[in-house]
Symmetry: D2
Subunit: 334 residues, 4 copies
């Protein structure tokens, strides 16, 4: 089986992680790196002398030896680059969110199908051990019917210039929600606020997604939080899950419910938690697993878990949340 | 100064705590206790043999020696009991929320004024050390302009028969919010869901309150959560606060903001937290301080911090949240 | 079955907790309270008007109606009071440690036997839910052979006037150790240091107890610690336990061991933890259970779990630790 | 200024981290890598194609272009390799501990002096932000006189074949202790136990080091612990420090002491903690700073903070601890 020759476009925040993982993989090769800023490329060249470097991605995409590209550029550029890459016959791995509009996401999805190329969006948490474990536990029926999905993803953030906090952070939560609930949502509503004058972008948002059967999902994303909180609560009819991504050793806790009768003249009953179980989780980097899945899908002509359709679903939710926020939280139905 | 002779109506969940504190105070006396269930009164009598007991509160209120009553009965009964007590010339301490409607809250407030009696609602967190410390820190200007108030109060709850989770848990958060922000809100919206068939009451709700100057408050209350979370984040222009009520030793943390330039070819800037400061807090029970304040207000003819007006503001917010929830989260303006 | 008429001697730090629990019990009665300080008795009388009060315990012990006494006075007085009480035919509940010398502990133990009275030492943690759960888990064989018992009990302490930190804090750890390991120790060594000039008492100590089969126990007690740590680690051949008494919701965690092969060119193997399980624990106050056990033993003429022999074993260990500390940590064999 | 051409010997557990950091530095160059296992070298070559590779370190040391070596091999081999490297005129960076005997550590120290080469031992925690912050805080006088240093470093460990847990883990704690206390110890005692049959190495140890002025240091190292604990408590006359290395965001907490008079009939005084302050810490990898310091020392002909003398002090303490452990914890004076 041939090595996949992969190129990376964009070496800003996330690109270096893709580069490092590609360089370390056995069935792929870090073939080329592209960035508009020459100083960044110098650094890459020193670390990875065998990689070709480009300041113009059009040039890079013309290289017939290149099999695949990973796009880690600002969201507004995803569409044009991914489109050109697919048209040049390359397999494409795109940072989340897939594009800045549902329409464009659909165009890319169709194009990948037509060109028979792998199009994968980096919903990276879906390749992390905690999310995989939650999926396994939910699918096994241990949780029972899902009641709610509540996600908080807040920190003192890197302000993004081209997108607001919804487009920056919520793709993670929406992708996890979409994966774990596995149903079609009914409606979206959102509230978003901007506090920093002149920045022009909302820094805090609350998003509510309704599903059939009274399932409700709620997401709090925030660039102005004093502490890093990354916590998802999932309530079910039988058990409940707490996923705390900042806990170094026990990220997933699964709780039995319990009811303790209290023998007291004053109180009759006390609802309490039952046993808690924290499964051991694989270590290993989620991005590494994501890139491994991408390379596998290329080799075996498979559709990735986070294909164009998954990417489109998340972009659609982001678009609806943004629209609801502009309409003062009006509930927008699908 | 005479001892205040206080009676307690209702010995269910919270009443025993009021009884214990009154029995322990130096400037008040546990004079009488009323409950419809005789077995509960037996227990009280054994513990507090000097207290009179009643199964009928009308009887108790006729006792001319009684100075004040604490009402710890279901919400729907607050109005009738408090009204009768005020009319009988008693000072009144009522469990939160003050009443089940704004109109009734206003009637009680007016009646207390007319009768020159103290009417105090037990917004108990306003008498707790963490909330008092936050108020002090905010008023000192250390936080700067407030950007947001975000509260999560979830646990595996005691299902209430007469009220939903908004009326059960959110009074705490709305009272703290009202106290700390100290401004008039513009609008309320809320989403609430019920999951348990037949219970008929919403078990999970999200409430959003908007204030002038882009201040936003958001409250998550939930009876179906796997773990007890009681956390308030307050973001400000200069500093930020995390109040974690489940942390046994560091309930309040105040964070400086910081920006660290990162010397890396890849990343240009990294927003990070500055120093954190956890002030030492008084120990001592909040309810004890609340009851002490009530007795002080009676002795010195003062208006309590959590008077009828404060109680009315919270009931108004609860009513609006409930109404918004029935209208699918429609934003309701004041 | 008659109510046990119980008296409490000493209303300093721990006495009020005994008083409160006795007053609340159904099969015992708070019959009398004794303290040399009249102001303290006034407070008790206000709260518990039906209890007799004494400033002289000799007087109290003469009361023929008194069935049992709880002794919560300084350690140096335990022996004389307990002896007089047993001789007067009372059942005796003594605060830990039982006495200030092994010899005296043995005298009390013999006297109780001769007088056919219950003598129980308040090794209160043995009646707490976490320690009971650990005992159950160890006895079930789930842990396998015990390798070590490591306890840290440190805080910014109440300096005791009559005893050092070993006699003040270590009785808890030694009692838990004795209960859970359930074997005869071989030797004790200890290091103790005093830092505060003029206080005359050691404020920090490390105690090592060796058992057969390479079982080792180690205890760190400290009055000068910045934070409250109460943690016990128990290592076994199959599983391991962490007991963190400051964790409000998950005091006991039981870990499976695991070994994960790591697929990396660099590292061959990675020892990692397996699943973790945190059993739900009863709530309820340990002291309440201890007093309930005392009253049960009186009623049914049973020997308490923490009888004179258990109390003597702990005093013996304390004496040996103290002696080793004076000999620069010399190992002292039984 | 010329690039330092550095070689790394040993690519097992820690070597890859040294390789990665050297490859990333601007004033050093990853010139060569040596390992006896060819498969490991293949991996290195793929990742760092410009580095020379050797399976025989004697060959590598003969390369006149090589300026410096980092030795990351088993402890028993440190002496021979470091000696040969210094004799060949190379600067030497050695993993902790410096050697397996004090005598050998002194020989290397003298040899480095004679050859005018930098000899640095990788006491890596001394280059970490938390330890540097503690040193700064202690030196500023904020802590007052040090009372004690208590370190716990336990986890489910990688069993070492050539050394016991004292030689494996305690070098970290002893190096931090030596650096922060900055005084000459008086004596060492230790207890060590082995539990796993056939392994032949102690897996758990307690080490006590005494200093003048009643300063005491105590170290608990353990390969058989259920959870990873890395915690250092430092008690001082004025303030106290807790360093929890597993806390992702607040590794260093500095506590004021406080005494709160409690107004209660029962309790007279309550020692409590004062405010707590958690300083912001630099991020950045400790090993990177250590290697940067090594390269700086070479360039500017300076003596490193962790030079041969520092390395010798730690080896001396390890030797004494080992000897005391074999003598059942006998206190061994310097």
């Amino acid at each position: 089986m041939d090595l996949i020759r992969a190129g990376v476009i964009g070496t800003g925040y996330w690109g270096p992680n893709i580069i490092r993982n590609l360089a370390d993989m056995r069935d792929a090769q870090l073939y080329a790196v592209c960035d508009r800023i020459p100083e960044r490329l110098e650094h890459v060249q020193r670390r990875y002398p065998s990689a070709k470097t480009f300041t113009d991605y059009h040039q890079m995409l013309k290289d017939p030896a290149l099999d695949a590209v990973a796009i880690a550029t600002p969201v507004s550029t995803h569409y044009a680059i991914a489109k050109e890459a697919l048209e040049a016959g390359k397999h494409v791995f795109v940072e989340k969110p897939l594009t800045d509009s549902t329409k464009r996401a659909r165009v890319l999805t169709q194009l990948a199908k037509k060109k028979k190329r792998v199009l994968m969006v980096d919903h990276v948490f879906l390749y992390s051990a905690p999310v995989r474990k939650m999926k396994e536990v939910i699918d096994s029926g241990q949780i029972g019917d899902i009641y709610y999905f509540d996600s908080v993803r807040v920190n003192l953030g890197l302000f993004q210039k081209d997108v607001n906090v919804i487009w920056d952070l919520a793709p993670h939560d929406l992708a996890i929600m979409d994966y774990l609930i596995g149903a079609r949502p009914l409606s979206v509503s959102a509230t978003a606020v901007r506090h920093i004058k002149g920045s022009g972008k909302e820094d805090l948002a609350y998003i509510t997604v309704r599903y059939p059967k009274q399932i409700i999902a709620h997401i709090h994303v925030n660039w102005l939080a004093p502490a890093k909180i990354r916590q998802i609560l999932i309530g079910g009819a039988k058990r409940m899950i707490v996923y705390d991504d900042t806990n170094p050793s026990e990220k997933i806790k699964i709780y039995d419910k319990g009811i303790n009768p209290v023998k007291s003249a004053f109180r009759q009953i006390d609802y309490r938690l039952g046993d808690m179980w924290a499964p051991n989780l694989d270590t290993g980097e989620a991005l590494r697993r994501a890139l491994g899945h991408f390379v596998d899908c290329i080799h075996h002509r498979r559709t990735p878990l986070t294909d164009g359709h998954a990417g489109t679903r998340v972009v659609k939710l982001l678009e609806m949340a943004d629209r609801s926020a502009r309409l003062h939280g009006k509930e927008i139905s699908f």
